[in-house]
């Protein structure tokens, strides 16, 4: 009985005790406020004990430059135990003095003040729409990350300035932070193909507080570009091998290379003398040289001279000779002409006959030139044989009248002094106005004198003669002095002239194709002007006589 009563009493008392343990509410505490876009802000508090009674929480605030105490305009929008200040109730650069009061039936309790400028509460939401593209174009893959600013943040008008920060993490590694400033895109190049990455972005406004990190975005970089790379590598390698093979083939087959080279870069032709073989010069044989320079000469085979040849020279100093000469080519007053009459048997040059012939020429040094050999008569008979003579002496310009000339020569030729020579027709083009003189053109090793019928300008001769005081001595005429076995022609200078004497054995005639190199001829002429009137022979293109 007692136990039952005691138990009942306890029950009642306990019930009464529960019902009666109410008190005033505990003090709430303000947790903080946040302005996500610098236009509104919200505050939250944490309630204390409610004292067992329904408790009401109210938030009161005071604001700088605003008189009075005001209550929170919106308790609902920001959630439970919150207060939301909309745009009208928000002043940025003003301090808010906030407090929360908990009230129940038994009393109220107030929290501490929270005094702060709203600008200190600025903390945006994280950026949204974070998209990551793994761009795997060559040569290297990179990540293209884009995001948008948090909602309601007015960056366009400049009211807020957003700064972003990004962090990226590879599986198994640490986070890497990247500041991107105010831009909304980032290209990240330092990525490994085939790896997986996690990316987060956050932002802050106006040097305020950083937002939370955005939701993680996962990305994996594909590997297929490696295959592409390999493909291109193979292509390039193949091309390189082909190129190397081509180069090797070209190098090994030099002919091919040379032909290619010639096709691309044809050689520039150098100067060349037609008909002249440069190689010939290198052999060093003077006869080859002379042959090459003078051209291919179809000289008749040489006939040896015999002792039976009587040679004589008729030197005449008269003008009658010239006048009667039908093919007179010269108009000089005193022409020194040397007639060389050679027997038909003269076919081979020998030194002695040559000497005899030229000695006669010596004899004809006299100005009067009145040489009449006793063999004139013989010459007459020999005249007919002169034609077939194979001498290489050529007559100038009077092929058909050689006989006539000779006959004229037989006549007293006191004043005419020139040498007639047979002419070879097919030697050079001979103009009718050519000078009467033949030129020694070439001398080969067998002491054959070849006379050249080069055009000699009579005028020039006259001038020169007048200038130099010589008679009939064009530039490249030189006097035949002697014919030795080894030499063809020597110019003889006047023995009175000491200088010329020296030159007897060392006369060098320069090779000249035209009478344009009168140096040596002039030289000799100048010194030996007195001897001019005797017979002379046009000098041969030069070669030294030893």
């Amino acid at each position: 009985m007692r136990t039952h009563l005691s138990l009942a009493m306890l029950c009642v008392l306990s019930a009464a005790g529960v019902c009666s343990s109410t008190s005033a509410p505990g003090r709430p505490s303000l947790l903080g406020c946040r302005s996500p876009e610098k236009e509104t802000f919200s505050c939250w508090w944490e309630p204390g004990s409610d004292g067992g009674l329904p408790t009401e929480y109210r938030l009161f605030y005071m604001r700088e430059n605003l008189r009075g105490v005001h209550e929170c305009p919106d308790y609902v929008s920001a959630g439970k135990n919150s207060c939301f200040f909309d745009k009208e109730h928000t002043s940025i650069w003003a301090e808010y003095n906030l407090r929360v009061v908990a009230t129940n039936a038994l009393g109220n309790a107030s929290s501490d003040f929270l005094i702060n400028d709203v600008m200190k509460y600025v903390k945006p939401y994280p950026p949204v729409n974070v998209t990551v593209l793994a761009n795997s174009s060559t040569p290297s893959a990179y990540l293209q990350i884009q995001w948008k600013s948090p909602p309601n943040v007015d960056v366009k008008s400049g009211w807020v300035t957003a700064n972003y920060e990004l962090r990226i993490k590879q599986n198994g590694k640490e986070w890497k932070n990247v500041e991107t400033g105010a831009q909304n895109v980032l290209n990240l190049y330092s990525v490994d193909p085939g790896a997986s990455y996690m990316i987060q972005v956050r932002c802050k406004l106006d040097h305020g507080n950083w937002s939370e990190w955005s939701n993680t975005t996962f990305v994996k970089i594909p590997k297929h570009h490696q295959i592409e790379n390999r493909f291109w590598i193979l292509v390039f390698a193949f091309a390189l091998i082909t190129l190397l093979a081509t180069i090797c083939i070209l190098v090994l087959k030099r002919k091919l290379l040379l032909s290619l080279k010639q096709w691309f870069l044809p050689p520039v032709p150098g100067p060349m003398i037609r008909g002249v073989d440069v190689q010939l010069f290198k052999s060093g044989r003077p006869e080859d040289v002379v042959n090459a320079l003078i051209g291919n000469q179809n000289f008749p085979p040489m006939m040896p001279w015999t002792d039976q040849v009587e040679e004589y020279l008729l030197v005449s100093d008269s003008d009658a000779w010239q006048l009667t000469d039908p093919c007179k080519c010269h108009k000089k007053k005193e022409n020194l002409t040397i007639e060389l009459h050679l027997e038909s048997k003269i076919q081979h040059r020998k030194s002695t006959p040559g000497q005899n012939a030229w000695e006669k020429a010596e004899e004809s040094k006299d100005e009067t030139g009145d040489l009449e050999s006793s063999d004139v008569s013989q010459s007459e008979s020999n005249l007919s044989n002169m034609e077939p003579m194979k001498l290489l002496i050529e007559e100038q310009g009077c092929p058909s009248t050689e006989k006539a000339a000779l006959t004229n020569v037989i006549q007293p030729l006191t004043n005419t002094t020139y040498v007639e020579f047979q002419q070879r027709e097919n030697f050079w083009d001979i103009s009718p106005t050519q000078a009467e003189y033949s030129r020694v053109k070439e001398v080969n090793s067998e002491t054959i004198l070849i006379l050249n019928n080069e055009n000699i300008l009579p005028g020039s001769d006259v001038q020169e003669q007048e200038v130099n005081g010589e008679v009939n001595t064009p530039d490249d005429y030189s006097r035949v002095k002697e014919v030795n076995s080894d030499l063809v022609l020597l110019q003889k200078h006047d023995s009175n002239d000491s200088y010329c004497k020296k030159k007897e054995d060392h006369y060098t005639v320069s090779i000249s194709q035209r009478p344009t190199t009168p140096h040596e001829g002039d030289h000799s002429k100048g010194l030996c002007s007195e001897m001019v009137e005797s017979g002379y022979v046009d000098s041969v293109p030069g070669f030294s006589v030893k």
Binding site: E64, W93, F113, K156, S157, W159, H207
Partner: protein
């Protein structure tokens, strides 16, 4: 310290560039005598060549807003540094000891109000605020050396940097406002009446110092926001800036 020094020089030359461009366009002479490194000198020369053509105000405002952004960043760091060793225990419980000496200036308090203010008025407000902080910064700089605070050296250097930025920004805005009309040239006078020293005892000194720094932070934020609003208005053709 080296970073601060370089930042300081960067800010000084950037603002001097703005100033030089504008001033020389008007006078035709008188280069700035600021510290200008070689490459900056070249850029300055280039700008001098182009300056007497119409330098877009948007570019000038961009430079100015960069300078003001730097100022605001410095002031924020200053307050944070102050709070690490001087928790605002007292300030939590009570209101500001006083109002900022610039509170008399009527400034827009939210976005709608700010966007309705004209360019000239905004520029005038900015220049007034800048002008108002010349003297207090001197006081702060002098007090920071003997501040009973463990981070006083860092605080002192930051305040000096702030002073330089403020001076160059003010000079630049003087010229920039000349391009915007007479309304922009008018400034309000907001003298500082707090005296030359901050107090006698440690707490008072620290309190006042902290209070001044908070006022400075607020005003630098205002300056920065207004200039950025002006910039975004001026560069309609360059949306990437805003």
């Amino acid at each position: 310290m080296d970073v601060k020094g370089s930042k300081k020089a960067k800010k000084a030359t950037g603002s001097s560039r703005t100033r030089n461009r504008l001033r020389n366009c008007e006078t035709g002479e008188k280069m700035a005598q600021r510290r200008i490194s070689g490459d900056r000198l070249f850029i300055t020369v280039v700008y001098l060549v182009a300056m007497c053509r119409a330098v877009p105000i948007g570019d000038l405002l961009d430079r100015a807003s960069q300078r003001s952004d730097k100022m605001h960043s410095l002031s924020t760091l200053l307050t944070q540094e102050m709070d690490t060793h001087f928790p605002p225990y007292g300030r939590m419980q009570m209101q500001r000891p006083a109002e900022c000496h610039t509170s008399a200036l009527q400034t827009p308090n939210d976005k709608e109000q700010a966007l309705q203010v004209s360019n000239s008025d905004l520029m005038s407000l900015v220049r007034s605020l800048l002008q108002a902080w010349v003297d207090p910064l001197v006081i702060l700089s002098n007090s920071a050396i003997t501040l009973p605070h463990p981070a006083k050296s860092s605080i002192s250097s930051r305040i000096q940097e702030l002073q330089e930025h403020s001076k160059s920004l003010a000079d630049g805005l003087d010229i920039l406002s000349g391009k915007m009309g007479p309304d922009a040239q008018a400034t309000s006078s907001l003298p500082y009446t707090g005296g030359t020293d901050l107090g006698q005892d440690r707490v008072t000194i620290l309190n006042k110092f902290a209070f001044l720094l908070s006022c400075l932070r607020r005003d630098s934020h205002k300056i920065d926001s207004f200039l950025k609003v002006l910039r975004c208005r001026a560069v309609k053709l360059q949306p990437e800036l805003c």
